[in-house]
């Protein structure tokens, strides 16, 4: 059962860290064009707004992925607990 828990933890960690890495890349990649566009005075205000929306959307999507990942991990913990409890020998009587 320790190994099943380990496998679960590994998958949860991989999704968590993978999502953070991809989020960082998406933010960094989008930063350059936004920075450039913000240099043009007439575009500065609308680009700032679009950037805000973009960053919020990216952070929101990845935040949701991580939230679902954690909830799934905790649910699997409960399932593994139940399986372990079911497999455990009954306590001695008396």
């Amino acid at each position: 059962m320790d190994r099943w828990r380990g496998l679960k933890a590994l998958v949860v960690d991989a999704v968590e860290n993978g999502s953070r890495a991809v989020e960082r890349i998406q933010m960094e990649t989008a930063k350059k064009p936004f920075d450039l566009l913000e240099q043009i005075p007439p575009l500065q205000v609308p680009v700032k707004g679009i950037r805000e929306i973009h960053d919020t959307a990216v952070a929101g999507v990845h935040g949701m992925i991580r939230l679902v990942n954690r909830v799934t991990g905790q649910t699997l913990d409960l399932v593994l607990d139940a399986v372990e409890h079911h497999q455990a020998p009954p306590p001695p009587e008396g």
Binding site: M1, D2, R3, W4, R5, G6, L7, A9, L10, D13, A21, R24, I25, E28, T29
Partner: protein
């Protein structure tokens, strides 16, 4: 399925075993002796039950990176341990450990384990022979170094050590990984930095193979991903141990053999022909053999290698 699962977990430990250990993951392997796939408790009764014919001369088999004791198994089911038991009456003990940890961490753990073994063993131990494949040789040397600083009782019992494809001077593949990760991360591009981060996820054990680091001082307080920094501290060869080295080369032709080695370890490294810049002990070359047309993994289960080990075991020390 059982063996395949154990091999997969052994490979996973070699790749990211330090992470598994640090996060308390249940897939992390604990160091211990394994008999018929089960861990042997170091208590006299448990040892006597696992080895009913326990003799005073032990052979300890130490596997390499990303392996388990299964690596020793030949096609006919025999291995160097069982053959040495049959031919020379030795009692074989198979070590399993998390090869993703630092070599020095595994060395310290092996030192403690061998001390506990000698104390708990049902009959007085007269001799311990170490047979080590690949990284296992570094772990064994690290254990001997740790023991030499603590005056352990198991160390004087070791009179022979066999290193089969052990990268005493490091492995070029790991140095390539170090250069690749450094170059990718230096480009400043988020995508290449992500790839560099992934490459740098490889375990501390793998990174120790860059220069064959044996001691805690080699890595403590240092940046493990710094470009090609050899921080080795010297580990002298213990004079009472006869060191036997076996190297392999994929090719029989000498120039190609020098170029490719056994696929993972170069002949100079496996035969311990150190130069000053290696900051390593120089191994005496009278107990060195280089076997052509043999790959790195085959060194752990090849009849020709066993014949060498047996012949050397029969020599007087």
């Amino acid at each position: 399925m059982g063996d395949n699962l154990e091999q997969a977990i052994g490979a996973l430990n070699g790749a990211i075993g330090d992470y598994l250990q640090r996060t308390g993951n249940g897939l992390a392997t604990s160091m211990g002796f394994v008999h018929d796939g089960r861990a042997v408790a170091l208590e006299p009764a448990a040892i006597a039950a696992a080895y009913p014919e326990a003799g005073p001369r032990l052979v300890v088999l130490v596997h390499g990176l990303m392996s388990t004791e299964i690596v020793w198994r030949m096609a006919d089911g025999q291995d160097y341990g069982s053959l040495l038991a049959r031919d020379l009456g030795l009692t074989p003990l198979y070590l399993r450990y998390n090869s993703g940890l630092h070599v020095s961490e595994n060395g310290e753990a092996l030192d403690a384990l061998l001390e506990a073994l000698v104390r708990a063993y049902p009959v007085p131990v007269e001799e311990v022979i170490l047979v080590c494949h690949s990284m296992g040789g570094l772990v064994a040397r690290s254990a001997a170094h740790a023991a030499s600083e603590r005056e352990r009782s198991w160390l004087p019992l070791v009179r022979r050590a066999f290193y089969l494809g052990t990268p005493h001077l490091g492995a070029p593949l790991e140095r390539f990984g170090n250069v690749l990760a450094w170059a990718l991360s230096s480009l400043g591009n988020p995508y290449t930095r992500l790839i560099a981060d992934l490459v740098n996820l490889r375990s501390s054990g793998v990174k120790d193979l860059r220069y064959g680091s044996l001691r805690r001082e080699d890595w403590e307080g240092a940046d493990a991903d710094a470009l090609l920094q050899n921080r080795r501290h010297p580990v002298p060869l213990l004079p009472h141990i006869r060191h036997h080295l076996v190297a392999a080369t994929l090719a029989a032709e000498p120039n190609l053999a020098l170029l490719f080695g056994d696929g993972l370890v170069m002949p100079d490294s496996a035969t311990g022909r150190a130069q000053a810049h290696h900051r390593s002990a120089i191994f005496p070359q009278e107990h060195v053999r280089v076997l052509p047309s043999l790959a790195h993994l085959r060194l752990a289960h090849h009849p020709e290698v066993y014949a060498l080990v047996r012949a050397w075991c029969e020599e007087e020390t």
